[in-house]
Amino acid sequence: MEFFGLTAGQLGTLYLGVGAAVVVLYILKLRRRQVPVPFAKLWKRVLIERPSSALFQHLKRILSLLLQLLLLGLMVFALADPRFKGLSRAGRNLVVLVDGSASMQATDVPGGRATAAREAVRRMIREMGSADRMLLAQMDGEVTALSPMTDDVASLENALKDYAPRDTGLDFAGATRFALDAIRGLERAEVVIVGDGGYGPARDGAGEVRLPEGVPLRHVAVGRSGRNVGISAFSARRYPLDKTRYEVLVEVRNYSDRREEIELSLYADDAPLEVTRMTLEPNGSQQRVLRDQSGANQTLEARVQFADRTRDDLPADDRAYATLPARRRSRVLLVSDGNLYVQAALLLDEYIESEEATVADAPQKMREGRYDLVVMDGVTVPAPPGTAVLYLHPSGTDSPLEIDGATPEAAEIRRPFFERIDARHPLMRFMSDIEDTNVGVATRYRLREGDRAVAASAQGPLVVVGQRTGGRFVAVTFDLRSSDLPLRVSWPVLVINTIDWIHGEDPAYLSSFKTGESWRVPVPAGVDRAEVEGPDGRRSSAPVIEGRAVLRGMRAGFYRVRAGNEAQIVAGNLTDPDESRVAPRAFAELNGTRATAPIAGRVGVRRELWLYLLAGALAIVVLEWLSYHRRVTV
C-alpha cells in the first residue's frame, strides 16, 4: 500500500481534531424534543418494566459514537489517497493520435467515422489501468494536443470533446514525430493510432520516422466502405488582356470502383452559372474547362453530387471554391509627342483610364492628378515622389538610368536580342514571343544598386525594373519604333503586366489555396497584422510577413482577410486525392514496427482506494439514515 495524499502526521492531527469535536458533541447533553403526554404515570409503569431497554439505548449511543468515529476514519484515510503497491509503477504511457483529416468526415459508418473514432478512444480511456496515463492528440494538417499526459479520466473524456476532423490532408510524419517527442524518456510507452488507415508515408526531410525499440504500436481501424466522388481541381483566372472575362478549370474524380453519374454545378457569386451532367468511370476523372466566362465579380464555387441527388460518403470534397482577383481602375498619363502603339496598348483594357500630356504640361498634370502610372515615351520629366513610371527609351537629366558611355552613340547597342529573360518576374509573364523580337538599336544604361534587368541581351539590359523616389519604374532601353515589339502580342502584355506589377496585382494570382498548408496572402503595405474570418465565422489574427498575411486554413470555403482598410476574399479547398479516397486502407506497420490491436489496462477499473473509502462512508451514512427513518434503531 502506498500513500499519495496527506502525510501521516497531517492525517493524525486531522483525525484527532475532528474526532475530539465529535466526542465533545456526543458528550454534550442532547437537547431533546419535548413531547407532552396526558398521563405520565402510565409511562412510568412502562419504563419500570423495561430496564434492559435503557441499557440497550445506552449501548446504542456508544455504538453511534463509534460509528461516527469510523466514518471520520474512513474519510481521513481517503485523504491519504492510498493505492495498492505496484500498480502505480506498472502504468503505461499512451499517446493516442486520432486521425482528424478530411477523410474522417466520411459517413460510411453510423454517426460517421469521427463518432466511431471518438467512441473507440472513449473505450480506451475507460479501459485504462489505474496507473495508466494518456495523451490525446488530433492529427490532420498539423498536430494538436487535446490533453496533457494525464491519468484523469474525466479530463481525458472532456478533452475528447474537442476532437473534430477538419478539411485537410494528413501530416503523418509530423504526427508520429510528435508522438516520439511525447514518449521520450517515458517507460512503458505505447503509441495508439485511431483512424481509417490512409495516412501516407511517415517520412519527412529528416528521414523516416521510427518508433524506439520496444514501443508497441497499436492501431484502431475506423471506416467500412467508400463511395465518393469529389472535385480534385478547381481553378479560375482572368484573361490578361480582358480582365472582365475568365476561364475556369474543374476536375472531378471518381474514387470508387463503380461507374457514377454525377451532376456538376458552377456558381458565380452564389448565382448558378452552369450545370453539367457527366459520367465518371470507376476511379476515373474528367476535366472541364469553361472558357470565356463572365458574370462573376469575385467568387466561384463548384458543387458535385450524384445525378440522383444522393450524397456520397465524403461531403467535404463535394464543394470547391475559387476567387478571381479584384478589378481596379487605373489612371495612366501618357507623356509623348504622339505614339499610336502606346495609345493602342492603353486602350486594350477598359479598366485603364488614360490621358495624354506634352512635356510642357506634364509636371502640372502630375501634381494635380493622382496617376497610377505615367508613361514617358522618349522623354523624361521630373515626377513627384512615389510616382510609378514606364520609361520608353529614356534620355535627358531626369532619366532614372544613366547612359553607359561617354556619348549616346558610344552607348548604342546594335541589333540586340532578348537573350536573358527573367520569366519568373511578373513583368515578363505570358510574353510568349518576346524572344523573337527584333530590335534595331538600343541604348546601354548603367544600372544602380537595386535595379534589375528582367530582359537583356548580351550587350546590355533591354527591360529594367527598379525604384526611384518611392515609386517603381520600368524602363525599356530602346525606341519602340526601332523594333517590331509593337507588332507582337508581347507589347500590350508588357503594358498590362507593368500596370499590374505597379498595382501589386500578381499575374500568378492563386484562385484558391490548399487547406492544411500555410497561405501567404498579399496585403497592402504598412500593416503588420490581418484579421481573418473563416468559413465557419470564427475570427483570428494572422501576422503579416514581407507584405503577406501568413495564415493556415483548416476548413474549405471562403475566408475574409482584412488588413488595414482593405478586405479581400481568399478560397481554401481540400483537393487532396489521398483524403478523397475514403475506402479504408490497411495499416500494418510504421517503418518496421508492426501495428497490433490495442489492449485494455491491467486493471479494468480505477483502483484509487479513496473512492471506495468514500463510497463505504456513504453506504454507512445511508444505512444509518435508513435505520433511523425506518425506526430500526430508534
Binding site: 442532547l30 431533546r32 424534543r33 419535548q34 413531547v35 407532552p36 403526554v37 396526558p38 398521563f39 405520565a40 404515570k41 402510565l42 409511562w43 412510568k44 409503569r45 412502562v46 419504563l47 418494566e49 423495561r50 431497554s53 439505548q57 446504542k60 433511523y628 425506526r631 430508534v634
Partner: protein, 308 residues
C-alpha cells in the same frame, strides 16, 4: 410570503372557536331525547323512585314501632297475626337529583380535537335528558376541587343555563377526583346520581375518587372519555416526555416497541377500571371521542340506564 405577510399572519387573532352548543347541537339533543323515550317506552315516568323511604304509596319495608310514630302506618294485619307492632314503610317519591361532574383538569385538553369538548357535549346531553325528565340537574366543574358549580335546576328551558355554564369552564390544573368528590358531597346534601365525565387520569388513582362518591351514598356513574390516539405520542427517538398537568418530565428514547408496550399498558389500565366498576356495580362507559356523538349518547343512555 413576504415578511409583512408573515407578521400579519402571526399577529392576527386566532380564529374564533366554533360554538359546540349551537342550534344544531340542541336539535340533536331534542332528537336524542325523543329516541331515548321511544327506546324506553313504558318505563319512563315524570318522576323516579329513590331508595329513600318516606311517605309514598309504594310499600317498601317494615320497621319496629317506636314511641311517637304515626299510628296510621302501623300494620295491623301483622299485629293481628304476630302481635308485633310494625310500621309500614313506603318509598318516598321525590324528584331525582342528577349531578354531572365534569373533569376540567389540563389532561382533558390534550389532543386535537380535545377530549374536553367531547366531555362537555356528553355532559350537556346527560343534563338535557335529566331536565327533560323533570329531574333536578346540577353541574360541577372539578379538578383537584370543585372549581365551579351550577346549582340544581329543573325544566327543559334551563338547558341554556347549562350551555352557558359549560361554555364558561376551561380545563386547567391537575386531577384529584377524591378531593373534588369529598368537596362535592359536603356541598350537595341531597343525594342522587353523580355522573362523572372524566379521563380518569388521576395520579392518586381513579378508585379513590369513585369510592369517595360511593361511600357517601351517591350513585356514581362513570363516563370515561377516551381518545385512542393518546396511546401513541407520535414522536420517536430521544425525547423528553412531559406530563401536561404537573409538568413532570422524563427523558427516554422512544421506540416502536416502547409505544407498543405503552398501548398494552393503557389497555390494561382501562381493563382495571372496567373491572373495578363491575365489581362495585358502578355503571361504566368508555366514550371514544373518535366515534359519532349520537351513537355514543344512545349507547350511554342504554348502558347507564339513565332513563329507567
Amino acid at each position: 410570503m413576504g415578511l409583512t405577510d408573515f407578521f400579519r399572519k402571526s399577529l392576527a387573532p386566532p380564529a374564533p372557536k366554533e360554538d359546540i352548543f349551537d342550534d344544531e347541537f340542541q336539535r340533536k339533543l331534542d332528537y336524542l331525547a325523543v329516541i331515548s323515550r321511544r327506546l324506553f317506552a313504558g318505563r319512563l315516568r315524570a318522576e323516579r323512585r329513590t331508595k329513600k323511604t318516606g311517605s309514598g304509596i309504594e310499600f317498601a319495608d317494615h320497621r319496629q314501632y317506636n314511641a311517637g310514630d304515626d299510628l296510621r302506618y302501623v300494620d295491623w294485619k301483622v299485629y293481628g297475626r304476630s302481635e308485633r307492632m310494625l310500621l309500614k314503610l313506603y318509598e318516598e317519591e321525590e324528584d331525582l337529583s342528577i349531578y354531572v361532574l365534569l373533569d376540567c383538569s389540563e389532561s382533558m385538553a390534550y389532543g386535537e380535537p380535545s377530549k374536553f369538548d367531547h366531555a362537555r357535549k356528553l355532559a350537556a346531553a346527560m343534563a338535557y335528558v335529566g331536565l327533560a325528565n323533570l329531574d333536578r340537574v346540577a353541574l360541577l366543574a372539578v379538578s383537584t376541587k370543585v372549581d365551579k358549580t351550577l346549582p340544581s335546576t329543573r325544566g327543559k328551558g334551563r338547558i341554556f343555563k347549562i350551555f352557558d355554564f359549560l361554555r364558561s369552564v376551561r380545563p386547567k390544573g391537575e386531577t384529584a377526583l377524591a378531593d373534588a368528590a369529598r368537596q362535592f358531597t359536603t356541598q350537595q346534601k341531597r343525594r342522587g346520581i353523580a355522573i362523572i365525565v372524566t379521563d380518569l387520569y388521576d395520579p392518586e388513582g381513579f378508585e379513590r375518587g369513585i369510592n369517595a362518591i360511593r361511600y357517601r351514598k351517591y350513585e356514581p356513574m362513570v363516563i370515561h372519555v377516551v381518545d385512542p390516539r393518546e396511546s401513541d405520542p407520535g414522536a420517536r427517538g430521544d425525547v423528553t416526555l412531559v406530563d401536561v398537568e404537573n409538568g413532570e418530565s422524563r427523558e427516554i428514547t422512544l421506540t416502536d416497541g416502547m409505544v407498543k408496550a405503552y398501548k398494552e399498558e393503557h389497555e390494561k389500565w382501562r381493563k382495571e377500571i372496567d373491572d373495578f366498576c363491575k365489581t362495585r356495580q358502578v355503571p361504566y362507559v368508555a366514550a371514544d371521542i373518535t366515534k359519532p356523538f349520537e351513537e355514543q349518547v344512545l349507547y350511554l343512555f342504554r348502558r347507564l340506564a339513565l332513563v329507567e
